[in-house]
């Protein structure tokens, strides 16, 4: 994260490759369709959904959200310091982002294990089907996000192959993982 003097004056450029933005906006629409179906079905059997939702632990969801939001801050710092030419600092931020992502992964898997041990699986009822589907597909995106971080680190390590556009493209992907989780968290843990 830098406050380089020229940043405010630099040309208003799209962060990363435009193709990644097309993917991001498409992904957001696909997830919105999942969410819309979930909310519609929720209304059909609100008692069952509320009873099942009470089995979740809001502290897990809150912790997960804080972890991913903080990881987004470090990813932003990574992209901005890389742009400023401070590649070592950028790499450190990328590693911290990955660490926070791993913490999210561990937290999510721990919650899954606790739920399954409590007798709540994918086929238990409609709520848990949506819960495991949405959190599972999100986790898949998180794993792809780790590959994106790997690309960033690979780019930053080699002076000859550094591409700021690629770093920012991967950063946009990571932020999308965060953005989708923010919606999933409120829909699974908070709505009534």
């Amino acid at each position: 994260m830098t406050d380089n003097a020229g940043e405010g004056k630099r040309d208003r450029a799209i962060p990363g490759q435009p193709d990644m933005w097309v993917l991001v906006l498409f992904e957001a629409l696909v997830f919105t369709a999942y969410f819309a179906v979930y909310l519609y079905h929720r209304s059909a059997d609100s008692e069952l959904f509320l009873r099942s939702q009470a089995q979740l632990r809001p502290l897990f969801g809150t912790l997960d959200t804080l972890l991913l939001l903080t990881s987004s801050l470090f990813m932003l710092r990574c992209a901005q310091t890389a742009r400023a030419g401070a590649h070592r600092t950028a790499m450190t931020s990328a590693y911290i982002t990955a660490f926070l992502g791993v913490a999210f992964l561990i937290s999510k898997i721990t919650e899954w294990i606790m739920l399954v041990r409590g007798g709540h699986g994918f086929s238990s009822n409609d709520f848990f089907m949506y819960y495991f589907f949405l959190t599972g597909i999100h986790l898949l995106h998180l794993l792809i996000g780790f590959i994106a971080i790997g690309v960033i680190v690979y780019q930053l390590r080699g002076p000859a192959r550094r591409s700021q556009e690629l770093v920012e493209t991967c950063a946009v992907y990571w932020h999308t993982v965060d953005l989708l989780w923010v919606l999933i968290f409120s829909l699974l843990y908070v709505v009534r």
Partner: protein, 97 residues
Amino acid sequence: MNTQPNRRPLIILLILSAITLGYLALDRSADSQGTFRASSVVTTIAILLALVKVRFIFREFMQVRNAPALLCRLTDLWVLIIGAALLGSYFSGLAVH
């Protein structure tokens, strides 16, 4: 080259974290003695707060604030579409069932 951290993203993170923690209070206000109760108000507030967070992430973390106006408008439009789809499906579900 100035690589001093800009405080703005940190402030944004604090705002987003405060909203996230605010959900816990929202949770408690909706439930009575450990029993979850249906509430359209809580659902609407939860969805609207999530959309506020999504817009913050787009504008600040994804640096759309400094991007061409087209991308700014497109992401704002996306937030509106997501909001309309979520609230629309929730309330239409309530109306049908």
